[in-house]
């Protein structure tokens, strides 16, 4: 059963397609692990175990009758609890939405359902996606399967924990400052933040309209590509959704890296940094060189300013969405989230617009940089997952903040809307995983997936699973 639960999504899909294993068996395998370990991990706010079992039987009937839908058919997948699910409450990790039951599925959920995915539950998250620990005062704390005393990261912490623990084969996440990539890094997963507009955010509880991205947390790059094939594409319901061609994201995954140019922006993105992560990323760069890529030093100065810019965009947008709730139910917010929303309420419009103008400058600089190299390579996070309730205050001997550790390397690509991928690239001496980030040109997720797939073909970090 355990072996089944830790198959990659692609392997599980292949076995279903070939009728070597049924959706009922796959689902039973992940539900068995959920029953055994969910009390320790607490990945879910609303588990859907009975519903998943019923959906698995339905998928099995469809497949046996010749109505096979594709690689996600019959595959158990978990949903972050800010994705609207018709008839199933969607809390966004917030008390203010404790009783919110959406009238319809969001677009991603609808597309996953159409692809035949089985939903195992709604995952815990940092309240309103406004934080990076998934220590949630309303729905409990999610524990990292790689170290139960550690955070799984956030805000998509439940999604990452569920996937890492073998409660599902993949999960949805959202990423406004790094909320897919940081949990992926902390839980030894692959996490893709697509280009802004590539995946619809219709039917996702907003945090920050201009910075929110939807994407997958998976075990492998190939799984992320399969997941993207199901969810990407224009959505008329979402005004931020782009009507651009959608490639087959699995095409070209096995293409060689020869001729690709990778830029390494060491200034800022590698300082401060856990020395073990620094050494591992250097080793990873060597692997990429061996695979044929050219690696060169580059400079991305405005990326280093992203942490100073984003609050003046994200917080006012959050405060705007939360406007009525923060005024009428302020006591229903968690102690860390409430001041963040309140802060957004007092930022002046002119500063918000300054932030949006500075984003333009940042994107122009990144566009110029990415005309010379095909992708940037950085550590995903500056440290491993911190102990629950005890955030790191220094890294590599330098004082720092949880925000810098979690999102210092990721948020620039939310501001630019660029695609960015985190792949596992090693473990600390105490057994905690971390990732490497690849960031690239708008609409060119394919190149990032190609690099990530080549790297995973040459390494085995992503094949490691936690022992609970």
């Amino acid at each position: 059963m355990e072996e089944l639960a830790f198959l990659s999504l692609r392997e599980a899909g292949d076995r279903v397609r070939q009728r070597q294993v049924s959706p009922v068996e796959l689902t039973a395998a992940v539900l068995a692990r959920t029953s055994a370990f969910e009390p320790q991990v607490h990945a879910y706010i609303t588990p859907l175990l009975d519903e998943a079992a019923a959906a698995a039987r339905q998928a099995e009937r469809e497949i046996m009758s010749g109505r096979y839908r594709g690689p996600l058919h019959g595959i158990p997948i978990a949903l972050k609890d800010n994705y609207w699910t018709a008839g199933v409450r969607t809390t966004a990790g917030a008390k203010i939405f404790a009783d919110f039951t959406p009238p319809e599925n969001g677009t991603v959920v609808a597309r996953l359902r159409e692809a035949g995915a089985i939903f195992t539950g709604k995952c815990n998250m940092h309240e309103l996606a406004l934080g990076g620990t998934t220590v949630n005062p309303h729905y409990g704390t999610t524990h990292n399967p790689w170290g139960l005393d550690r955070i799984p990261g956030g805000s998509s912490g439940g999604s990452a924990a569920a996937t890492a623990a073998g409660f599902c084969f993949a999960a949805t996440g959202t990423d406004t400052t790094g909320s897919i990539r940081a949990p992926a890094s902390y839980c030894n997963l692959t996490g893709l933040k697509p280009t802004f507009g590539r995946v619809s955010i219709y039917g996702i509880v907003p945090l920050s309209w201009s910075m929110d991205h939807a994407g997958p947390l998976t075990r492998t790059v190939e799984d992320a590509a399969l997941f993207m094939n199901a969810i990407a594409g224009h959505d008329p319901k979402d005004p931020t959704s782009a009507d651009v061609p959608v490639p087959d994201f699995t095409a070209g995954l096995d293409a060689p890296l020869r001729g690709l140019r990778l830029g390494v922006p060491r200034a800022y993105f590698f300082e401060p940094l856990d020395p073990e992560i620094g050494a591992a990323v250097e080793t990873a760069l060597g692997v990429l060189r061996d695979l044929g890529a050219e690696v060169e030093e580059v400079s991305f100065p405005s990326g280093a300013q992203a942490l100073d810019i984003y609050p003046f965009v994200q917080r006012p947008e959050a405060a705007s969405f939360q406007e009525d709730y923060i005024r009428t139910q302020p006591e229903d917010y968690g102690a860390d989230v409430r001041p963040s929303v309140e802060l957004g309420g007092i930022i002046l419009a002119v500063d918000y617009l300054r932030g949006q103008r500075l984003r333009t400058a940042m994107r122009q600089e990144l566009d110029a940089l990415l005309s010379r190299v095909d992708a940037l390579v950085t550590p995903s996070t500056r440290a491993v997952a911190s102990p629950i309730g005890r955030p790191f205050t220094e890294v590599g001997g330098q004082p720092t903040s949880g925000t810098l550790i979690n999102t210092g390397n990721t948020v620039a690509f939310n501001l630019t809307g660029s695609p960015a991928l985190s792949v596992p690239c090693g473990f600390s001496s105490d057994g905690l995983p971390f990732g490497m980030q690849l960031a690239g040109r708008a609409w060119d997720e394919a190149t990032l997936l190609r690099i990530g797939a080549a790297y995973q073909g040459a390494t085995s970090w992503h094949e490691q699973h936690p022992r609970l």
Binding site: W209, S210, P239, S302, Q305, D308, I309, P311, F312, I326, R327, P330, R338, P339, E342, L343, G345, I346, I347, L348, A349, V350, D351, L353, R354, G355, Q356, R357, L358, R359, T360, A361, R363, L415
Partner: protein, 106 residues
């Protein structure tokens, strides 16, 4: 007259008069006396007074609990000064990343 928790009168025009230059805080400070005004003048150095935050919250109709204004003043002061100092080459010509568009076909 009884004291009230409601915000003090502050016209939107006056509030916005110096926006983006740090003078907004001065405009608010001019409504007050003593410590607020003194702290406002230090805002350009990365300090923001609790009183200014309290007044901004009142203007925004946000009921801040006791102690929060001080926390927000700390969170906002220096980052705001850093942020407002950013002026990359060509800033004057930059459009905001989010602009209004009319979808094709409308």
């Amino acid at each position: 007259m009884k004291p009230t928790m409601r915000r003090r009168a502050l016209s939107r025009r006056r509030f916005l008069a110096g926006a983006g230059t740090g003078a907004v805080a001065v405009a608010i400070g001019a409504q007050t006396t003593g410590p607020a005004g003194a702290a406002v003048s230090a805002e350009a150095d990365g300090q923001m007074s609790t009183e200014v935050v309290q007044q901004l919250a009142e203007y925004a109709d946000l009921p801040l609990p006791s102690g929060t204004a001080e926390v927000l003043a700390t969170q906002l002061g220096r980052p705001l000064a850093t942020f407002r100092a950013m002026r990359p080459a060509g800033y004057e010509g930059l459009l905001p990343a989010v602009i209004f568009t009319v979808p094709a076909g409308d």
